[in-house]
């Protein structure tokens, strides 16, 4: 068996690199859009909920009720847009999208407070966006809770003395102190960009590889390659290596963008992320190669990529947490290279996990790459013979 990198591979490599060097557009297409997409996706996709437009119906019209509305709008979460005269008007405003949330204060609000009776304030949330609604609910409850604590402490209203407070035996409360590890600033972009890099690597490797493979066939130069003394495997290696080098540069550039534009900390070893990226690129190239063997032209190959990539990307957990998917879809993430990359990148960069923690994902990624690689070689050979 001849060594894998012999003079024939060298010559073919020279040819491939030469073609890429002359085709400036390819290098540009490979480097520029992924970087831009990473920036755009990282900045544009954010689930943060701030400045919820709040409408208020204040039937009480007292200092106490105005104070509650003020407390709500003082928090960064809510912004008071205007008062409405009736709950119907508020409902119309929510339906028109003028406000996203409404608070309704009953007419006996201050009287109940002064008598020490529990009073109920109604919140109306536009729950079309389930996630925003869940988070707004948390905000509203948090604000009311701290408002209550203020009332009890007597800081705001000395007049509030619960009737019979001394009657029942006072029992302590469990106070939950949440600590946000690994991302104390709760930046959404860190989650998005770590996943999106894997998505872009697969997407671009797939597109570029299928374009490169189809080009040879479209131009009719495939037969010339076959007639050369190089073996099939050598042709494949020579095709893959230059693409790999270019795509790997994209990955490094992506990591740089993460660090510089989004301030993602690199707690773990960069080597882990880069080797995961390398495996991702290889599986992407394999997908592209298999894809190209089914297509007759560059247009068709790109069209076929539409069958593969959007489902692969959206079910990977790159943009949304895996736990939120239905159980049957969660099972499929095991065979999704983007999923493994996202777990590795998040683990290594944000949490500082090492290989000992991430080996299952590496194993998965490696297995996927090997399987896809073998399938692509098999399909490619079949097409050659």
């Amino acid at each position: 068996m001849a060594p894998i990198f012999n003079y024939r591979v060298g010559a073919l490599l020279g040819k491939e690199f030469g073609q890429i060097r002359r085709d400036r557009r390819l290098a540009l297409v490979l480097i520029l859009p992924p970087t831009l997409q990473l920036l755009l996706l990282g900045f544009a996709l954010s689930a943060t909920v701030t400045n919820i437009h709040l409408g208020a119906v204040d039937d009480s019209r007292t200092d106490e009720s105005r104070q509650l509305v003020a407390t709500l709008s003082e928090s960064k979460s809510f912004r008071l847009v205007r008062y409405y005269v009736s709950i119907d008007r508020l409902g119309d405003a929510i339906s028109r999208g003028e406000v996203d949330a409404g608070v309704v204060i009953p007419y006996d609000y201050d009287k109940d407070l002064q008598r020490g009776r529990t009073t109920t304030v109604q919140f109306l949330l536009n729950a079309i966006n389930a996630n925003t609604a869940a988070i707004s609910q948390g905000y509203a409850e948090g604000v009311i809770e701290s408002y209550n604590a203020g009332l009890r402490a007597g800081g705001l209203h000395a007049s509030f003395e619960p009737i019979g407070a001394q009657d029942y035996s006072h029992q302590g409360q469990a106070q939950l102190h949440p600590a946000y590890l690994y991302n104390p600033g709760l930046k959404d972009s860190w989650f998005i960009v770590t996943g999106v890099l894997g998505m872009l690597l697969i997407l671009n490797s797939c597109l570029v590889a299928s374009a490169a493979m189809v080009k040879e066939r479209e131009a009719g130069t495939m037969e010339q390659l076959l007639m050369s003394p190089a073996a099939n495997s050598e042709i494949i290696i020579a095709k893959v290596v230059p693409l790999f080098v270019l795509l790997f540069m994209t990955a490094i550039l992506g990591a740089a963008v993460m660090k510089l534009a989004f301030g993602v900390p690199f707690h773990g070893k960069l080597l882990l992320v880069l080797s995961a990226a390398a495996l991702c690129i290889l599986s992407g190239i394999s997908i592209g190669t298999v894809n190209s063997t089914f297509a007759k032209s560059a247009g068709q190959a790109q069209l076929m990529a539409f069958f593969i990539n959007p489902p692969l990307a959206s079910t990977s957990g790159a943009l949304s947490p895996v736990e939120a998917m239905p159980k049957w879809l969660q099972a499929f993430t095991v065979v999704n290279p983007i999923h493994h990359f996202a777990v590795i990148a998040r683990g290594s960069m944000l949490k500082g996990s090492g290989f000992a923690d991430l080996w299952p994902n590496f194993l998965g990624l490696l297995a996927i790459t090997l399987v896809l690689g073998s399938v692509s070689v098999w399909r490619f050979r079949k097409q050659l013979s």
């Binding site: 755009l40 900045f43 544009a44 689930a47 943060t48 909920v49 929510i94 028109r96 999208g97 407070l113 020490g116 009073t119 109920t120 304030v121 109604q122 919140f123 949330l125 536009n126 729950a127 079309i128 966006n129 996630n131 869940a134 988070i135 948390g138 409850e141 948090g142 009311i144 408002y147 009890r152 619960p162 006072h170 029992q171 302590g172 409360q173 469990a174 939950l176 949440p178 600590a179 590890l181 690994y182 104390p184 709760l186 959404d188 989650f191 032209s297 247009g299 069209l303 069958f307 489902p311 079910t315 943009l319 949304s320 736990e323 939120a324 998917m325 879809l329 683990g347 944000l350 949490k351």
Partner: protein, 367 residues
């Protein structure tokens, strides 16, 4: 008029003859709708957490049971001799609840007992949800344990339009619009670019057909494709996703026809401007997919986009149609809430058509 219909018939025949385009036109939108709408949800349930109970008293066990009973969390076993953070690092849990020593004693004495909750915040949104859910569980625990002092003010929260807070109901209209923005215009741009690539466009130039007749014929054909997709996708929308028509359906129907016109014109415009199939696909995947996916409020609110790029969303046609679909299926605001969005869809479609017409006219000889 007859020439317009003849042109459309020719396009539709071409689509039906190619299995790839036909699946692309009819099957893929459906698959995408079903798959992606369930996959992109953000509201998590059944999150693994681990509990370190350093107190091991009846009170602490009751408190843990409150967490165990919720559908949001499931408690995973964790050996006592291992650092709890290790579970977060190795992705075996999303949060750690640590109950300190003397928890039960403090509670009985009437002191407030602090409980630590370590949350893996590498996913910030999920972290916020975890904090909100746990607070709610703790509050409910106090209520049932009867230990709570009466809250002076109680918040009663109502969820309108989507009381079950189902993510699917929010995402399905978005993906529905995404599929409608992608596939018809992809096909349209391919058909148009093909004419340029294979030079069959020259036959059009020398024939007596006018630019308007030619373009309208093509646009009409792909409007038919879009409406067919629309009807096909309505089936899972009404059954699997449990959506329905809320309120007046007329703005929705008008907007759908205009949107079909808008996406078909966009595809034709791209195809006319870029007579190369591969490049046309890339342009459409940028306009039809990326812009509509990112800048239309499909997944995340538009208000969260940084102001520097938010203005772009003003021109993104999908944005208006998503609002219209959500309104029609969930809110039921009718014409007062949506009239200007309907108008915007029509206006943007008109602009696309005008640009396509200008490119065509420039190439055609004056008669």
């Amino acid at each position: 008029m007859r020439r317009i219909f003849a042109q459309s018939r020719k396009e539709l025949t071409q689509i039906v003859r190619d299995w790839r385009t036909l699946t692309l036109a009819l099957v893929l939108p459906l698959a995408l709708l079903l798959l992606v709408s369930s996959a992109l949800s953000l509201t998590v349930t059944d999150l693994p957490i681990i509990v370190q109970d350093l107190d091991d008293s009846p009170a602490s066990r009751d408190f843990i049971d409150a967490f165990r009973a919720s559908i949001t969390f499931h408690v995973v076993a964790w050996p006592v001799n291992k650092q709890p953070q290790q579970a977060l690092v190795s992705n075996q849990a999303r949060a750690v609840l640590i109950i300190p020593d003397h928890f039960g004693r403090d509670m009985a004495r009437g002191l407030d007992a602090p409980v630590q909750l370590l949350i893996d915040a590498s996913d910030a949104n999920t972290a916020k949800l975890i904090a909100g859910y746990s607070n709610r569980i703790a509050r409910a625990f106090h209520k049932t344990a009867g230990s709570s002092q009466a809250d002076p003010v109680q918040a009663e929260i109502r969820f309108w339009y989507n009381p079950g807070r189902s993510s699917k109901k929010f995402l399905a209209p978005g993906i529905f619009v995404l599929a409608l923005s992608m596939f018809p215009c992809l096909l349209a741009s391919l058909a148009m670019a093909k004419e340029g690539e294979q030079k069959t466009i020259l036959q059009v130039y020398v024939s007596s057909i006018t630019a308007h007749e030619f373009l309208l014929g093509k646009v009409l054909a792909f409007m038919v494709v879009a409406v067919a997709e629309f009807l096909l996708m309505l089936i899972p929308m009404f059954t699997y996703f449990g959506l329905g028509i809320a309120g007046d359906p007329t703005p929705f129907i008008v907007a759908t026809v205009l949107y079909a016109f808008c996406v078909a014109s966009f595809g034709i415009m791209v195809g006319a401007a870029i007579p190369n199939q591969a490049a046309a696909i890339q342009a459409v995947s940028f306009g039809g997919f990326l812009l509509v996916f990112l800048l239309s409020g499909l997944m995340f609110p538009i208000a969260n986009i940084p102001a520097g790029i938010r203005w772009i969303s003003f021109f993104v046609w999908g944005r208006y149609y998503i609002d219209i679909v959500r309104d029609a299926m969930l809110q039921g605001g009718g014409w007062p809430a949506t009239w200007y969005k309907v108008a915007m869809v029509g206006l943007i479609g008109g602009i696309f058509y005008a640009i396509a017409w200008l490119t065509m006219r420039r190439m055609q000889l004056e008669t």
